[in-house]
């Protein structure tokens, strides 16, 4: 069975500092990896994805993520945090093909990012 782990419930960072939100995964075969952000009382918004190719993926709002196959990780990063980046971040994986079906997405528990002024 596939799974996603986000080991930190909360990440605190000062505005202007770099941030990292961690994600590790377990899956059969090659993973498709995604990061989403959720603001209060809103649905999830897509940030970026890794499908294949370059291990460093760039996405929306200055975020990027690095795929590391040997460590089965896909950490989200940003060089300089903004207060407006404060939100809930979810890592997701799709793999595990089911005959006659499609790839089923699995989400992590989420990490609350708090950026202090």
């Amino acid at each position: 069975a596939q799974s996603v782990a986000q080991p930190e419930d909360q990440v605190n960072v000062a505005e202007g500092n770099p941030l990292t939100v961690k994600c590790t995964y377990s899956v059969s075969g090659n993973p498709y990896l995604f990061w989403y952000v959720q603001y209060p009382n809103r649905g999830l918004q897509f940030l970026l994805k890794y499908i294949t190719g370059d291990n460093l993926v760039k996405g929306s709002y200055g975020f990027e993520a690095e795929f590391n196959k040997s460590q089965t990780s896909f950490h989200l990063k940003k060089p300089s945090a903004l207060v407006s980046d404060s939100a809930l971040y979810f890592c997701a994986v799709r793999a595990g093909f089911k005959p006659g079906g499609s790839y089923i997405p699995t989400f992590g528990r989420g990490t609350s990012l708090i950026v202090h002024p």
Binding site: V4, Y32, F34, Y36, N41, R42, G43, L44, Q45, F46, K49, I51, F90, A92, R94, A95, K98, G101, S102, Y103, I104, P105, T106, F107, G108, R109, G110
Partner: protein, 116 residues
């Protein structure tokens, strides 16, 4: 483009009552998902449709939950009868797919269900 529309935004019912949620996906999106998001947890897939066929419903509590997607567009999710543990946000999402799992999902703002 218009996003995924969900209604109602909030619903409060008593246990053992029934409730229904509605979702209208982004035009042209073949795949539609219903998720349950309990407070403090990530979204859990309940059911996935591709056009009007069910792709996966392995995590749907079929004794009380049902969903349909008539004509491959709008979808409804129903709970009958509701239990206290059903209190959650129900998210609908859609994606271009089909069969191309590298497509991101587009989420609606969800329905917050409270069971008294």
């Amino acid at each position: 483009e218009a996003g995924v529309a969900q209604s109602p935004r909030y619903k409060i019912i008593e246990k053992r009552q029934s409730v229904a949620f509605w979702c209208n996906p982004i035009s042209g999106h073949a795949t539609l998902y219903w998720y349950q998001q309990i407070l403090g947890q990530g979204p859990k897939l309940l059911i996935q449709f591709q056009n009007n066929g069910v792709v996966d419903d392995s995590q749907l509590p079929k004794d009380r939950f049902s969903a349909e997607r008539l004509k491959g567009v709008d979808s409804t999710l129903k709970i009958q009868p509701a239990k206290l543990e059903d209190s959650a946000v129900y998210l609908c999402a859609s994606s271009l797919d089909p069969g191309r799992s590298n497509q991101p999902q587009h989420f609606g703002d969800g329905t917050r269900l409270s069971i008294l």
